[in-house]
């Protein structure tokens, strides 16, 4: 059986290449049809905020890559609810299909995967 991987992305899309390079790991694994999930934790949840205008910082649009996840077999983005709430993001106005994970379930969620990569 294929070994599963969880990619935990903890960085905002505005802090250099961290968020993009975390997402690239997920997309590359998805391309090989590997069992893989993405969890946005801490500042990683800023990747979901609506109406981003990355051209203002001469950046490419990371949310376009997030939207491509289903094409790579990653149907939902897992999101730590507390991270969203703490950062004032409105759960109902996010532009992506997400699955919220309660803080008390995060440890169990991580333990469902063979490997974890946190960026």
């Amino acid at each position: 059986m294929a070994r599963s991987m969880l990619v935990i992305s903890r960085q905002a899309p505005w802090s250099g290449l961290a968020a993009r390079e975390a997402l690239d790991i997920a997309l590359a694994g998805g391309a090989f049809e590997l069992p893989l999930a993405l969890l946005l934790l801490d500042d990683g949840v800023f990747q979901l905020s609506a109406g981003q205008r990355p051209e203002s910082l001469e950046q490419k649009d990371l949310s376009a890559n997030l939207k491509a996840l289903p094409l790579f077999g990653i149907e939902t983005i897992h999101v730590a609810r507390d991270s969203l709430v703490q950062r004032g993001l409105d759960i109902d106005s996010l532009g992506h299909p997400i699955e919220l994970i309660e803080e008390s379930r995060l440890g169990d969620f991580i333990a469902r995967f063979d490997h974890v990569v946190t960026l």
Binding site: A2, R3, M5, L17, A18, E21, D24, I25, A28, G29, A31, F32, L34, D114, H115, V116, V117, T118, L119
Partner: protein, 130 residues
């Protein structure tokens, strides 16, 4: 056990040294290293152009020696490397850059190599900057 070691931090970051010591200890403990994979800032560790003062540890060299001495499968993420100016001769020609600087023993390849190694190993251990 079979380990894959992924390194993300810059050559002189403490995490990069720790990754090397961990890799050495894994081999000393009778374990196997399926692959070392350099990603993010760690791709610079595979630059042949790092120059350290004589009284400082040369992390590039230390890794290169470890890879050579133990015949480690040592891969550098090509996309991360191009962005940070670490090129082999093929890439230097392709993008018409003046020089190739990938140190011997390392190979440029895709992120798929990280996943392939993850499929073959029991533990994937990642080391960052700190």
């Amino acid at each position: 056990m079979k380990f894959t070691i992924a390194v993300f931090g810059a050559p002189h970051a403490p995490g990069t040294r720790r990754a090397l010591r961990f890799a050495q200890a894994a081999l000393a403990g009778g374990h196997e290293i399926v692959r070392v994979f350099l990603y993010r800032e760690a791709v610079q560790t595979a630059s042949a152009n790092l120059v350290s003062p004589q009284d400082e540890t040369d992390m590039g060299r230390a890794w290169q020696r470890f890879v050579a001495d133990n015949q480690i499968d040592a891969v550098v993420c090509i996309a991360a490397a191009l962005r940070r100016g670490v090129l082999d001769t093929g890439e230097a020609q392709r993008y018409q850059r003046p020089a190739a600087n990938l140190a011997a023993g390392w190979a440029l390849s895709g992120l798929g190599q990280l996943h392939e190694a993850a499929q073959q190993c029991d533990r994937l251990v990642c080391f960052g900057d700190q």
